[in-house]
């Protein structure tokens, strides 16, 4: 026996191994294919032997041949044999071969299931590892289903080497078997905190890959990832997490705010360019997701742009490329910050690296404005001239057109310029994009009426010089523009100066060399021109010119009648006959003008490309229904086409059709055979050129080939450059005229206290050179709303869009291998089940321990009132990982669904308050906060704010400063928590400088979406006299439960200068004006500005308030000095500040589940009010309540809405608004009844005023 083995191995020595094969192939360079085929024969022989070593050697060689492109699927079974060898050496060879050539279609793959399972549970970790690696390449849905449970067990293997591979392969399993995602997810999540960094990294990898496709399901993991991000030092992990956050932020703007600070820190601190770059990328994503202004917003953008600039300026081309790539993302939302780096980007256009040039081109697209369009395009035109290689030149060409035509020609102020650019582009030789230029020409001349006469003149010149365009080759794509030129000249021929000449140009014999579809257009439009010429001759005494024209047509058209192109031929012969008839009539001196003109009367309007799709299906029309009785099955063999019209056919018919198609194919084949054998049958049409050459009387026409290497200046065509100059001059003039006006406008803007961005304004000021009326494209009446974002139905990730937060149900578990059908009750504990279950038990024990650890850790980190809730969340997590392991009969009852909202609101809480990151210095400060107050449960809901910018910002140095200040004035222990939350608001407001109500911003946005709302303002008249007008707005201060901010606009109505204004209010017991330290209780506050005539400005005053349940009025005085040229007088104005209860409310969004809980709570006292005679639409009514009374809509169903708001001292106010013809019923609940009563009164008053 032993001898046999030795003998076998000695035999083997002289077998060809892989190295010999490679060597052999290298030695047979000339007849490689032949050599390989002999090798394959040898391999086939080797595979027939029993010796596994020989087989493995053969398979190893096959793997190499597979790489060279040889199909080795025939050896699949042998590969499986080698895979199942007990020796690692051979097993590895087998798995490698399998991973290279197995796929879902390989049928022997189903034989591998048990072998793989055996390998997975092998005591040798490398057997398991090799099996996992192989499986990752060829896993099929069946394998995934059968092995999911085994792999999941491996995720808790003792060896990290196995754990990381098991975790990673789970992604493939999920893809093939989506049902496994939910049962496996808890364990996967657990692996995020695995002690081994490799396993952790793998888990991050998998979850990132999953989340990238269905981000919303993974939002709840954000806190965990956040923790990882702040603690991990592994750049791979960090990059993945940061990329993941980039995908999550668009769904949750609050997350973005939390991220900005740590990301900014990373940007500043990291030395790894890859990490820096990904941070910048994610910050950009965050900034994109934050629609409305955050104060340090612009700083972040500046930082990003700055860092990117450094990248772009770097000598490393890779960094340059990436910098440009990221820049283009910023461009979409913050074009202005990128525009300032125009120089740099234009410079990149000159880079020798084409990738970089293309990226820079992409950027240019977004950087154009009305101001610089001409300049940029001019620069690009220079590049076009310089560019070598048609691909890049074509790219430039399309970019120029893209840039100019973007958003409906938004940036083009001078269409004459654009037309001349297009005409210049026609001089590009060898471009493939002639049709793009052509369609632009058509589009512009159709849709911009004012440009038509200019365009027609240009096109006429183009036609006149048509030979230059067709010059070199027949296939030259540029001749497509002649198509456009001919059509434009024909359709708008009334603008032609000399239609006769154009007509003549269009009928030149040379035209016959153009492609057929262009000739057809020529012919058709020649007829249009003919009509125009006739019209031009109207009233002329002698009809000689008209007759000459007719004669011209009759002379020239026969050329086209002979055309090989069917379209040309048909049109030409039709028109020729028509013209002949006209000639006859002319000779009889009959007036034909009217009839000929009538042929082409009427104007064509542009139709939107989607118009057809949007035509709504009329009611009662079922497009899928048969119009007649379905024809008997035999009869539908011939009519393929009409059948295709019906989208869906009943399966019965489709089967028939299949048969028919086969039958048809057969018949077709027969027919072809017949045709081939039939000498009289003319086979596939010969090329048109050939026909043309054979056509009699044509070949003698001399075709002059002009080879031009220099772009030719076509005589009589304006150069686009001159427009740039003209435009410059024109703008200068305009600017001078506008200067005065503009100044005034700006001043007004400033005085209103809003940040006025001068950028877009000045851009808007550039008026187009001439009246431009872009005719909008026609759409059918009552077009359906757009439904463009269709997902690819074949995307495998679609199946993974699974809610992971829902608790598992009984039916959801991974299939466990059983030897008996599941209905045998006692089976699971027996036989083969034993072995796999034991490690599971072990692992679950370990899990529990780990869980405890984790909990401990968590509770340390997050000393928050939400603690009890977190534990609740933990519970399902605890049970979940085991569940799949258990067999059917001992499954636990699924966790109560109530945990889902709890988890959701946990996320909300995490997002709305800060102290999760362990590095956070605030954590200890937060500790003394009392454990959950009774009303804190619903609080998490209200605290959340899906779109508002004011909640939840990252803590930064500033906020902690504020905090210290506050702590001095600390009043009650209880308020601390609220205060803390409010800090963020404070720093946010303080930084912005304009703590102009953020709420207004929010509502304002809604307003824009909800179209026609009457303009609303919160500013009401405070007092007015001949000199000055005071408007005021009162808002609760978010930072402090006892503060109210009053913004007062002072407007100078007089013609004199107002100065030394002093604002003073008589304090009451309840409310006090906050004065700077050192000031007496009755001192006035100086208004921090002076007012020139006609100017207004805004100042802010903070009042401290004790009780907010009652409205109150404060008396006050404004004193000021009026200074005119000769004198100055002292004046004063009394006013009464009215603090309504509304002004203590703060718009706070609320989720409907939190809202429902709130309503159930017993502390809430109810009240109701009825408003009669309210005739405004319901959404206006809601907008009014939102705007004037600082509510937010929780839910709206038809004409019923629930609304929520919160006072600065934390009272919840809930409204249920119902509207029915002119009557509005408001049911309200609040934990403070007098506050509620007053708020309702104020709401009533608001509506009585309108």
């Amino acid at each position: 026996m032993a001898l046999k083995i030795v003998k076998g191995s000695i035999d083997r020595m002289f077998d060809k191994n892989l190295q010999d094969l490679v060597r052999g192939i290298r030695n047979h360079k000339e007849d490689e294919a032949k050599y390989i085929s002999t090798c394959i024969d040898e391999i086939k022989q080797e595979l027939k032997q029993d010796n596994i070593a020989v087989k493995a050697n053969a398979v190893c060689k096959l793997t190499y041949l597979q790489m060279l492109g040889y199909d080795v699927s025939w050896a699949a079974f042998n590969i499986v044999e080698v895979m199942s060898s007990s020796k690692f050496t051979y097993k590895r060879i087998g798995y490698l071969a399998a991973s290279q050539c197995f796929h879902e279609g390989t049928d022997v793959i189903m034989l591998t299931t048990n072998q793989i399972r055996k390998d997975l549970s092998s005591p040798n970790q490398y057997d398991t590892g090799v099996a996992l690696t192989g499986l990752s390449c060829f896993v099929t849905p069946d394998l995934a289903r059968d092995l999911a449970n085994d792999i999941m067990t491996l995720m808790s293997h003792t060896k990290p080497y196995i754990r990381k591979k098991a975790v990673l392969i789970m992604y493939k399993v999920f893809l093939k078997y989506p049902e496994s995602l939910r049962p496996a997810f808890p364990r996967l999540k657990e692996k995020l905190e695995d002690p081994d960094p490799g396993v952790q990294s793998a888990a991050v990898n998998v979850i990132c890959e999953l989340a990238r496709r269905n981000p919303k399901n993974y939002l709840s993991l954000a806190p965990l990832f956040f923790k990882l991000m702040t603690s991990s030092t592994n750049n791979w992990v960090l990059i993945k997490i940061i990329k993941l956050f980039g995908a999550l932020t668009p769904l949750e703007p609050r997350l973005g705010k939390k991220l900005i600070e740590p990301l900014t820190n990373l940007i500043h601190s990291t030395s790894a360019m890859s990490l820096l770059y990904e941070c910048v990328n994610t910050v950009i994503a965050v900034l994109i997701s934050l629609s409305s202004g955050m104060p340090n917003h612009s700083a972040s953008i500046q930082l990003c742009v700055q860092k990117l600039r450094i990248l772009i300026e770097d000598s490393d081309q890779n960094l340059k490329y990436l910098g440009l790539l990221a820049m283009s993302k910023i461009l979409k939302t913050h074009p202005k910050s990128v525009q300032s780096h125009k120089d740099l980007i234009l410079q990149c256009l000159d880079d020798k690296d084409e990738s970089i040039r293309l990226r820079a081109l992409d950027l240019l697209y977004g950087m154009v404005s009305k101001k610089n369009l001409m300049e940029i395009v001019k620069k690009l035109m220079l590049h076009v001239d310089k560019a070598e290689g048609t691909t890049y030149r074509d790219e430039l060409l399309t970019k120029i057109i893209d840039i100019c035509s973007q958003s409906n020609y938004q940036y083009i102020t001078n269409f004459e310029w654009y037309i001349s650019i297009l005409v210049e582009l026609t001089r590009l030789e060898g471009t493939r994009h002639g049709h793009i230029i052509a369609s632009q020409m058509l589009d512009v001349s159709i849709r911009v009426k004012a440009i038509r006469s200019f365009a027609v003149a240009q096109m006429a010149t183009l036609l006149d010089n048509g030979h230059l365009l067709t010059g070199n080759t027949q296939r030259n794509g540029i001749c497509e523009v002649l198509y456009a030129a001919a059509w434009i000249c024909g359709e708008f021929s009334e603008h032609l100066d000399d239609p006769m000449q154009t007509l003549e140009a269009m009928l030149r014999p040379k035209v016959a060399t153009l492609p057929g579809h262009i000739q057809a257009v020529y012919v058709q439009n020649a007829a249009k021109l003919f009509a125009t010429v006739l019209r031009g001759q109207e009233g002329a005494t002698d009809s000689q010119t008209a007759q000459e024209t007719t004669q011209l047509l009759i002379d020239r058209l026969p050329l086209f009648v002979q055309s090989a192109n069917l379209e040309v031929q048909e049109r030409a012969s039709c028109i020729l006959q028509l013209v002949k008839y006209v000639q006859k009539l002319q000779q009889k001196e009959v007036e034909v003008l009217e009839e000929v003109t009538a042929l082409f009367a009427g104007e064509l309007n542009p139709v939107a490309p989607k118009a057809q799709k949007k035509v709504p299906v009329p009611e009662g029309l079922n497009l899928d229904a048969w119009i007649n009785e379905p024809p008997p099955s035999e009869s539908d063999s011939e009519d393929e086409k009409p059948k295709a019209v019906f989208m869906e056919e009943e399966p019965r018919h489709s089967r028939h059709k299949e048969v028919d198609e086969k039958e048809l194919a057969r018949r077709r084949e027969v027919r072809k055979q017949e045709q081939a054998n039939n000498p009289f049958y003319i086979k596939a049409s010969p090329s048109s050129q050939k026909v043309y050459q054979e056509a009699p009387g044509v070949e003698h026409i001399p075709v002059v080939q002009i080879d031009l290497s220099v772009p030719l200046k076509v005589p009589g065509m304006p150069m686009s450059d001159q427009y740039v100059k003209l435009e410059e001059e024109r703008r200068q003039k305009e600017r001078a005229e506008k200067k005065k006006k503009e100044k005034k406008k700006k001043r007004e803007k400033r005085s209103r206290g809003r940040k006025a961005d001068s950028g877009p304004e000045s851009e808007e000021d550039i008026t187009p050179a001439h009246m431009v009326d872009i005719v909008t494209e026609e759409m059918p009446e009552n077009a359906l709303p757009s439904d463009d974002d269709e997902k690819d139905p074949n995307d495998p990730h679609k199946a993974l869009d699974i809610d992971l937060d829902k608790p598992l149900t009984d039916s959801e578990k991974l299939p466990v291998r059983t030897h008996r059908p599941p209905d045998v009750l006692k089976s699971p504990g027996e036989e083969g089940e034993r072995a796999p279950q034991e490690p599971k038990k072990k692992s679950s024990k370990k899990e529990k321990e780990k869980k405890k650890d984790k909990e401990r850790k968590k509770s340390k980190e997050e000393k928050k009132k939400k603690k009890h809730r977190q534990e609740k969340e933990e519970e399902p997590g605890e049970t979940l990982p085991e569940k799949p392991v258990q067999s059917a009969e001992n499954n636990e009852v699924a966790a109560p669904p109530a945990t889902t909202p709890a988890e959701a609101s946990d996320l909300d809480f995490w997002l709305s308050s800060a102290p999760v990151p362990p590095s956070n210095q605030e954590a200890p400060k937060a500790e003394p906060a009392p454990a959950a107050e009774p009303d804190s449960a619903p609080e998490a809901g209200p605290a959340s704010e899906p779109d508002g910018p004011k909640e939840a910002e990252p803590e930064d140095a500033k906020s902690s400063k504020h905090k210290k200040k506050k702590q001095k004035k600390e009043k009650e222990e209880k308020e601390k928590k609220k205060r803390k939350k409010h800090h963020h608001h404070h720093h946010h407001h303080g930084d912005g400088g304009g703590d102009e109500s953020v709420q207004n911003g929010t509502v304002g946005e809604e307003e824009e979406e909800e179209e026609p709302l009457p303009p609303m303002s919160n500013y009401c008249l405070l007092a007015e006299n001949d000199y000055i007008k005071m408007l005021c707005d009162i808002q609760g201060n978010l930072q402090d439960g006892s503060q109210v901010v009053v913004s007062v606009i002072f407007e100078n109505k007089s013609s004199s200068f107002l100065k030394s204004m002093e604002f003073n209010v008589l304090d009451s017991l309840n409310s006090k004006l906050q004065r700077p330290e050192g000031a007496g209780p009755h001192d006035g506050l100086a208004v921090p500005f002076q007012l020139p005539p006609g100017v207004s400005n805004e100042a802010r005053y903070v009042f401290s308030v004790q009780s907010i349940v009652m409205p109150q009025k404060l008396k006050g005085t404004l004193t000021f000095i009026i200074k005119s040229e000769e004198s100055s007088t002292h004046e004063k104005l009394d006013f009464k500040l009215h603090f309504t209860c509304t002004s203590y409310l703060i718009t706070t969004p609320c989720y409907s589940d939190a809202y429902a809980k709130l309503l159930e709570s017993e502390d809430m006292k109810g009240s109701a009010v009825r408003l009669e005679g309210v005739s405004m639409p319901f959404h206006h009514l809601l907008a009014r309540v939102c705007f004037h009374h600082h509510f937010s809509v929780v839910e709206r169903i038809d004409s019923c809405a629930s609304m929520y708001s919160r006072s600065i001292q934390g009272h919840h106010v809930c409204l249920l608004v119902k509207a029915a013809d002119q009557t509005v019923l408001i049911d309200a609940k609040c934990d403070e009844s007098s506050l509620l009563g007053n708020v309702l009164d104020e709401i009533k008053q608001t509506f009585s005023q309108c």
């Binding site: 690696t133 390449c137 990673l168 890959e209 890859s274 081309q317």
Partner: protein, 193 residues
């Protein structure tokens, strides 16, 4: 996700190909050819990213490559991978090869493509990055090789001897057609740990 990893030489001859999605052999060859065509016409001093690998699914994908002496290492990845990260991964891959083969050159890859696969399997699995720490990778590869050797035992010895003899008998083949060592030191690497 990494869609494919290709190694080919300056003439487009494949030295190793690993596709993480299934393609027919013909398509694979076509992809290799096309990739070579795209990559080889680029200058030395341009960026290492390329868009538009038409064949491997869609616009989301990028080719990220490095050129070492006679070999191109090309990774085709989608947008979930960090471009600079992958560049570093290529570097780790090549350095690992260098360690495992002791001064790797193209010939090593030509004759031992199976070993290259084994090394790669410890770095990338099913298109996802498994390990980036070179020492860890080398440790696992070595451990497996040791196992292989112990399995071969006495029976393997004669085979090894024969293979050594074969190499000796054909002196013209091994190192004298040396196509040049792969230079590993690349100066402009973004620092990455």
């Amino acid at each position: 996700m990494i869609k494919a990893i290709l190694i080919f030489n300056n003439h487009g001859k494949p030295r190793m190909s690993k596709f993480y999605e299934h393609y027919s052999e013909d398509t694979e060859q076509q992809i290799i050819r096309e990739t070579f065509h795209l990559v080889s016409k680029r200058d030395e001093n341009v960026c290492n990213f390329l868009e538009g690998g038409m064949l491997i699914g869609g616009s989301d994908n990028k080719l990220i490559y490095r050129h070492y002496a006679t070999l191109y290492f090309v990774f085709c990845v989608d947008s979930s991978e960090s471009e600079l990260g992958i560049l570093d991964l290529i570097q780790v891959f090549v350095e690992t090869l260098d360690k495992c083969f002791e001064n790797v050159c193209e010939l090593d890859l030509i004759f031992h493509v199976d070993k290259v696969h084994n090394i790669l399997a410890e770095m990338v699995m099913g298109g996802m990055v498994l390990e980036t720490n070179m020492n860890e990778i080398i440790m696992q590869v070595d451990a497996q090789n040791k196992m292989e050797k112990s399995e071969a035992g006495i029976a393997g010895a004669p085979a090894r001897a024969v293979s050594a003899v074969k190499n000796m008998n054909l002196p013209e083949i091994p190192r004298n057609i040396n196509i040049g060592d792969i230079s590993i030191k690349v100066p402009n690497l973004p620092s990455f740990k």
